[in-house]
Symmetry: C2
Subunit: 240 residues, 2 copies
Amino acid sequence: MPNPTAAMLVIGDEILSGRTRDSNMHHLAQAFTRHGIDLKEVRVVSDDRAAIVGAVQALAEAYDHVVTSGGIGPTHDDITAPCVAEAFGVAISVRDDARAILQAHYDRSGTELNEARLRMARIPDGAALIDNPVSAAPGFSLRNVHVMAGVPSVFEAMVASLLPTLTGGAPILSQTLRLMRGEGEVALPLGALAEEFSDLQFGSYPFQKDGVYGTNLVVRGTDAGRLDAAMTRLHALFPG
Amino acid sequence: MPNPTAAMLVIGDEILSGRTRDSNMHHLAQAFTRHGIDLKEVRVVSDDRAAIVGAVQALAEAYDHVVTSGGIGPTHDDITAPCVAEAFGVAISVRDDARAILQAHYDRSGTELNEARLRMARIPDGAALIDNPVSAAPGFSLRNVHVMAGVPSVFEAMVASLLPTLTGGAPILSQTLRLMRGEGEVALPLGALAEEFSDLQFGSYPFQKDGVYGTNLVVRGTDAGRLDAAMTRLHALFPG
């Protein structure tokens, strides 16, 4: 059975303007690879209602899972939760369980749960909460869309909360052969081997080090024995 | 007149598997912001024909410019150029001007321009070449799609070659007020100010430092005077 598929939707003007360098995509890609879920697509859109709603609908239709990152805080530019509700045509309102989590969190620090903070308790009808052990305000899963914070430490904690609830497939294994030859030297025999081992993925990644061209050949797949067989052939093709 | 809009398409299994951390998105976002082009969307897709063709068509239709990154090397997994040709229904073949650039480059190092390397001279009909001062193999622009390498040093050099050929708008300016208060404290007055200055974008980005919550308030726009006026009001709202 093929692994489940997933997409990620990163929401935030700060990424598209170049103010902030996204790191959540890389974290999720690695976590999903270990868990046996194939991340097939990532989209980054701005804090724009139509853009978010359209992307949620397209990705939720095309993939088994969608993870969103960003736009669930207390300020006017945090519009992800109502956009996800709109994408599925469900209502959204402050929910008692989410409010109780926030109330307990702010009580501990003697901070008021004011109107702005209460926005973070708005949960679409039918959603399940995702635990946030860092800053309390929960994420949520609505059908196959999992809505998480954009701050990396919070995003990563929410991924850790979510992953055990998702059925994974076989972890995707990889092995790398590092060659001090240019890609153009290895391309033809590599292509032939990739056709022969069509159940595996073969990638070729050039690099330059101290003025010399090199290539990392990466073989990926779920069957350790097949990976070993492919690596044996690669070592024979490119000795030294 | 509003600034031109743009999207980016990152092509590569190595990003989606978590093997490689993309840096081209951040570079392009900053370069476009300085040049007065609004980057509105980024997509990352795998080395898959249907995914690449579909994304190129959707983005080329929706935005003034599309920049692609990755998949134009000599190996079997480098399929971006034929996919872009297919997206626009034009033919692709080895072109004399691109072949001459590669021939001169490999002649200098005494390297053979073999069949694999010659793949990098395949250019869709009607495309204009983009100069690659790092490793010679050119990118190309076909209509509003600009096709570039994925290796960061080469991508960045190609962006520098491309940018002067694109009409930019007003550079997008930004100013930041760093506050040692949580987002929940500033959300309501910030939202009111954002409504009053609806020609500017107001972003709010929480951070945590030494256990204390803080917020960066960022105002962005193209009119320096309006930015100054908004910052004066922000300083009055949140003194100290």
